[in-house]
């Protein structure tokens, strides 16, 4: 099975990125600075005063930052896996022109997955650097948060690719954002412990990947102990969503583009 075409599909996305990388990278730094300043320091001052630490024994900023990091990966994955993919599929017909060359549908799909991972990685590293500046990373092992966050992005991006491959127009994207991405951003343990929520929201949070990503990333940056079984479950959920998403996405691409 030849995959060289996937590398060139990624190369094409990098050519596109080269045109916008400066602005895009600045946003990737500024946005966590703003969020951590406003919510971590500003809002956090209402929640925890000085030594009086209320949220799981750490300053609110330190609690919030890993949650936002994982949530940002989800949002980045959502952005990259919806409109741009459908545009290349049906509006600009970029994939049609690629598939007239020896490149195969699976290479197109894997190339786009690779770009998704690169894109999430860029945003993740920028965010992580800001966290270090805010002293929100408590141990060198906190670096583990970077791959875990990228995996969280993939756990959303891959299933979203499958979803996008089945869309005939963009109305489905608003629904996915409204009913999945935004509620998860608010409820999946980013801003406060999930246990504070009514049961139905707790269930919603735990059957989707973000809560699991947040739990792992937070344990990494706070260097807080985590039960091996819990860690295994979180990791399994993230890998499961990624793996199944890649399988379904590949099938969706094959069906849509194989004609």
């Amino acid at each position: 099975m030849s995959l060289g075409g996937a590398a060139v599909v990624l190369e094409r996305d990098l050519l596109n990125y080269r045109r916008t990388w400066r602005g895009s990278l600045i946003v990737s730094f500024i946005s966590p600075v703003l969020f951590l300043a406003a919510m971590g320091l500003g809002l956090g001052s209402l929640i925890s005063h000085g030594q009086h630490r209320l949220v799981e024994g750490v300053p609110y900023l330190d609690y919030l930052a890993p949650g936002l990091l994982a949530a940002t990966a989800m949002q980045t994955a959502a952005l990259e896996s919806m409109y741009p993919i459908l545009a290349k599929m049906m509006w600009d017909k970029i994939y049609d022109s690629i598939l007239a060359t020896p490149v195969q549908v699976r290479e197109v799909f894997l190339g786009e997955i690779a770009w998704l991972v690169v894109r999430v990685a860029i945003v993740t590293v920028a965010f992580f650097a800001v966290m270090v500046l805010f002293s929100a990373v408590h141990s060198p092992l906190g670096l583990l948060a970077v791959p875990l966050t990228i995996l969280t992005g993939l756990a959303f991006g891959a299933p979203f690719f499958a979803y996008t491959a089945n869309q005939r127009n963009d109305t489905g994207f608003a629904a996915l954002n409204r009913f999945v991405v935004i509620p998860l951003f608010l409820l999946a343990g980013t801003f406060f412990p999930i246990a504070n929520l009514p049961l139905v929201f707790q269930v919603f949070a735990w059957v989707t990947p973000l809560a699991h990503g947040v739990a792992l990333v937070r344990a990494a940056t706070l260097a807080s102990p985590i039960a091996p079984l819990a860690a295994a479950v979180h990791l399994t959920v993230l890998l499961g969503y990624s793996g199944v998403g890649i399988g379904l996405g590949l099938r969706g691409f094959e069906r849509r583009l194989g004609e």
Binding site: G5, L15, N16, K93, I94, S97, A100, T101, P102
Partner: protein
């Protein structure tokens, strides 16, 4: 009957080729062969099945029935290997609007497995060939229709294809832009690049094709060189007559002695004849007074009208 070609020598060999979309049959059992070095055309109106045929040849749309060999291989088995040696100019431009003019060619070369250095070099050569060098770093979107079309043609040449497939290469272009495209295609043909093209313009088919098939409703209704088709299905000359809109003219009996055949179109009457001058004299002799009259050579348009009873362009 033409001699049966051995499939291995032909660039394309199709027998009973069919394309179905659900219960609708877009290509209804067509036979044709394309030989090395020639420019072969599909001439037919919108909906004839030209694009469906081209997409099967291009190995991006599976064959529904019959047999098809492209470059001696089976598209169902060797799609990627065949595509590696084809150049494709699709009906819609499908250029990459997110990267520059030159990068469109560069990345396309990369999709064909060229090294970065080779792809860059090829991109520059081809920009030169289609006269777009000064737009190399620009975005694609602001280019004119003719420039975009030339860029798509350049893109189709990036892998130095054995066979170039052009689906309506000049549809929607103004006359000047069309002539520029024709000129480039003619040069390619002189360099020995085999071409298969579709068109619904009879002048394009006459200009570019050594041999063509006339397609209508998914079937081939005639095949030959433009000259042969005109000789076989039309007369040497055509007399076009226009009459006043309210004139009620009896054209019965007009062909007798004047023309081999008469076609009455909504806006004019066509008399097919070997001698236009004699025909117009005869028309006057019979007391008919057209508003205008014109003698011209027969074209493929006349062939199509004869074969289908309809015009190519509606």
């Amino acid at each position: 009957m033409e001699a049966v070609q051995t499939p291995s020598r032909s660039l394309i060999h199709a027998r009973g080729l069919v394309k179905r979309f659900g219960s609708f049959t877009a290509v209804d059992g067509i036979d044709f062969d394309v030989e090395p070095g020639e420019a072969f055309g599909f001439l037919g109106p919108n909906g004839a099945g030209k694009t469906s045929t081209m997409r099967m040849i291009g190995c991006v749309s599976p064959v529904s029935g019959g047999s098809l060999r492209v470059l001696g291989m089976d598209p169902a088995v060797d799609g990627a290997r065949i595509r590696a040696r084809l150049g494709v100019v699709p009906q819609a431009d499908t250029l990459d609007l997110e990267i520059s003019v030159e990068d469109n060619l560069f990345i396309y070369g990369r999709f064909f497995g060229l090294s970065r250095a080779r792809a860059r070099q090829r991109a520059r050569e081809l920009l030169e060939f289609v006269q777009l060098t000064d737009r190399a770093r620009d975005d694609v979107e602001p280019l004119s229709g003719g420039m975009k079309r030339r860029l798509v043609i350049a893109r189709g040449l990036v892998n130095e294809p054995d066979l170039l497939l052009l689906d309506e290469p000049t549809t929607g272009l103004d006359p000047q832009a069309r002539h520029l495209v024709w000129d480039r295609l003619y040069r390619l043909k002189q360099r020995g690049v085999s071409q298969v093209l579709t068109t619904h313009y009879m002048d394009e088919a006459e200009q570019l094709c050594d041999r063509l098939v006339v397609m209508d409703k998914g079937r081939i209704v005639a095949a030959g060189s433009p000259r042969e088709l005109i000789d076989r299905y039309s007369t040497r000359e055509v007399l076009e007559l226009r009459f006043p809109a309210d004139a009620r003219i009896s054209l019965d009996g007009l062909p007798d002695g004047l023309a081999e055949r008469v076609e009455v179109l909504p806006d004019r009457v066509l008399l097919y004849t070997a001698d236009g001058e004699a025909a117009i004299a005869g028309v006057h002799q019979r007391g008919l007074v057209p508003v205008s009259s014109l003698i011209r050579r027969s074209t493929l348009e006349d062939v199509f009208l004869r074969l289908t009873g309809r015009s190519l362009v509606d």
